[in-house]
C-alpha cells in the first residue's frame, strides 16, 4: 500500500473512531489506539502519540459548545487539573518503563470498564446531603440549569475525588487517552456533582490533562507528525459529526451496538497484550 492510500484509510478509520467516541461519550482515543495497533499494525507507542494529539483536538473542539450550555464548572475543573496533570506526568513517564504488552492489557481493562459505564444506567441521586466544609472553603460549587431554573450544587468527598483524578491523569498519560470515564467517576460518584456538570467539566479537563503528557511524548519521539495528521483530522471530523447526531437523535440501540464493538476491542487488546503481540 502506498503512503497516500494508507493515510486515506487511516483518515477514514479515524472519522469512524471519532464518531464512535462521540456517540458513546468515551472520546476517540479509546477507539483509535486499538484500531491503529490491531488493524493497521502500527507500533503501540506511535499509536499512543497519534491518539494523544487527537484527544487534545476533540476536547478543545467540543469545549466551546459545552461552555455555551452553562454546565461545565471552570473552578472545579481547574482545581482537579492539579491532580490530573500530576498524574499525567507520572503516566507519561511510565510509558517508557512499562512494556508495550502490559500497556495493552491495561488499555483493554480500561476499555471494558469504559464500555460498561457507558451502558450502565445513571441513577439520579437526591441532593439532600449537608454541604461539605472543604468544598465550601475551596469554592467547589456552582449552579446549573434545570427546567429553566438554576439549581445549586456543592461538591463532596474532595480528597477522594482528587485521588481518583490523579489516577485518571496517570491512565491518560500512560494510554494516550482522555480517560473521560474515570474523570466522570470522580466527579459524579465521589464529588456527587450533577451528571451533566461532571461530563462537560470532564471534557473541559481532558485537553489540559493530555497537554501535560504531550511534552514527554514529543521528546521521546512518540508523535510522528505524518501519522498523527490523518488521525487528528479524522477524529476531529468524526467527533464533530457524532456530537451533532447525538444532539438530534435518540440513539440508544446504536449506542449499545457501539459499546459492544468497544468491549470487543478491549478483549482483543488484552489478548494481544497477554500473548506478547504488542
Amino acid at each position: 500500500m502506498s503512503n497516500l492510500y494508507f493515510s486515506l484509510a487511516l483518515f477514514g478509520t479515524s472519522i469512524l473512531a471519532g464518531f464512535l467516541g462521540a456517540m458513546t461519550g468515551l472520546g476517540g482515543g479509546v477507539v483509535i489506539v486499538p484500531a491503529l495497533c490491531l488493524l493497521f499494525k502500527v507500533d503501540l507507542h506511535y499509536a499512543l502519540g497519534a491518539s494523544l494529539v487527537s484527544v487534545i483536538a476533540t476536547s478543545s473542539g467540543a469545549a466551546a459548545a459545552y461552555v455555551r450550555e452553562g454546565y461545565s464548572n471552570i473552578r472545579i475543573g481547574m482545581f482537579l487539573e492539579v491532580a490530573t496533570t500530576l498524574g499525567a506526568l507520572l503516566g507519561a513517564y511510565l510509558t517508557a518503563k512499562v512494556s508495550g504488552n502490559w500497556i495493552g492489557v491495561i488499555f483493554g481493562v480500561v476499555l471494558l470498564y469504559s464500555a460498561w459505564t457507558s451502558v450502565h444506567e445513571h441513577e439520579a441521586r437526591p441532593a439532600d446531603h449537608k454541604p461539605d466544609a472543604l468544598a465550601m472553603r475551596l469554592n467547589l460549587r456552582g449552579t446549573y440549569p434545570v427546567d429553566g431554573r438554576k439549581e445549586e450544587y456543592v461538591g463532596e468527598h474532595v480528597p477522594a475525588a482528587f485521588g481518583i483524578m490523579f489516577g485518571a491523569g496517570t491512565l491518560s498519560g500512560l494510554l494516550g487517552i482522555g480517560s473521560g470515564a474515570v474523570k466522570v467517576l470522580a466527579m459524579d460518584q465521589a464529588m456527587r456533582l450533577p451528571f451533566k456538570v461532571s461530563t462537560t467539566t470532564s471534557n473541559f479537563m481532558i485537553g489540559v490533562t493530555a497537554a501535560a503528557s504531550a511534552g514527554f511524548y514529543l521528546s521521546r519521539g512518540y508523535i510522528l507528525p505524518e501519522l498523527a495528521m490523518p488521525v487528528m483530522l479524522g477524529v476531529l471530523v468524526g467527533s464533530l459529526v457524532g456530537s451533532r447526531v447525538l444532539a438530534v437523535a435518540k440513539v440508544k440501540t446504536i449506542r449499545v451496538a457501539f459499546v459492544v464493538v468497544i468491549a470487543a476491542l478491549g478483549i482483543e487488546m488484552i489478548f494481544n497484550g497477554a500473548t506478547g503481540r504488542l
Binding site: 494529539v53 507519561a92 511534552g215 507528525p225 505524518e226 495528521m229
Partner: protein, 124 residues
C-alpha cells in the same frame, strides 16, 4: 454578578479553544497535503518503533524545520499549536481569576500552568 463574570471567562476560554483548534487543524491539513504530495509513494515503517526523527522531538527542532519548509515540520508545527491551545486556556485562567479578584483560583491556575511548563521543558 460574580456568576455573570464567571460565565464570561468560561465563554472566553471556549472561544479561544475553538479558534486554537481550528487554526491548528488548518496548519496540520496544509502540511499534510504538502507532505503527501511529496512523500505519497513509499510506505514508511510504522510497525517498529524508531522514534520520530531528531528534528521533530523538540520545539526548537520543529521551528527550525519549519524555516526550511520541511513538510513533516509543518504538520508538527500545527500539532504544537494544538498542544499550546489548552495551555493558553490555563493562562486565561490565571489572568481571568486574577481579574475576578479570586486569588485562590488564580493561584490554582498558576500551579497547573507550572506543571504544564515543567512537563514541556523537562528534557530526558
Amino acid at each position: 454578578m460574580a456568576e455573570g463574570s464567571d460565565h464570561k471567562l468560561e465563554m472566553a476560554m471556549g472561544r479561544m479553544l475553538q479558534i486554537g483548534v481550528t487554526v491548528a487543524a488548518l496548519v496540520v491539513l496544509a502540511g499534510g497535503i504538502l507532505y503527501l504530495k511529496q512523500f505519497g509513494g513509499a510506505m514508511p515503517d510504522y510497525r517498529h518503533f524508531h522514534g520520530a526523527p531528531a528534528g521533530l522531538v523538540s520545539v526548537h527542532g520543529i521551528l527550525s524545520g519549519l524555516m526550511h519548509f520541511d513538510t513533516p515540520s509543518v504538520i508538527a508545527f500545527g500539532i504544537l499549536l494544538l498542544i499550546a491551545t489548552p495551555i493558553c486556556r490555563v493562562i486565561f485562567g490565571v489572568v481571568g481569576f486574577a481579574l475576578l479578584r479570586d486569588r485562590f483560583y488564580a493561584g490554582v491556575s498558576a500551579v497547573v500552568l507550572g506543571i504544564l511548563l515543567f512537563s514541556f521543558f523537562l528534557r530526558r
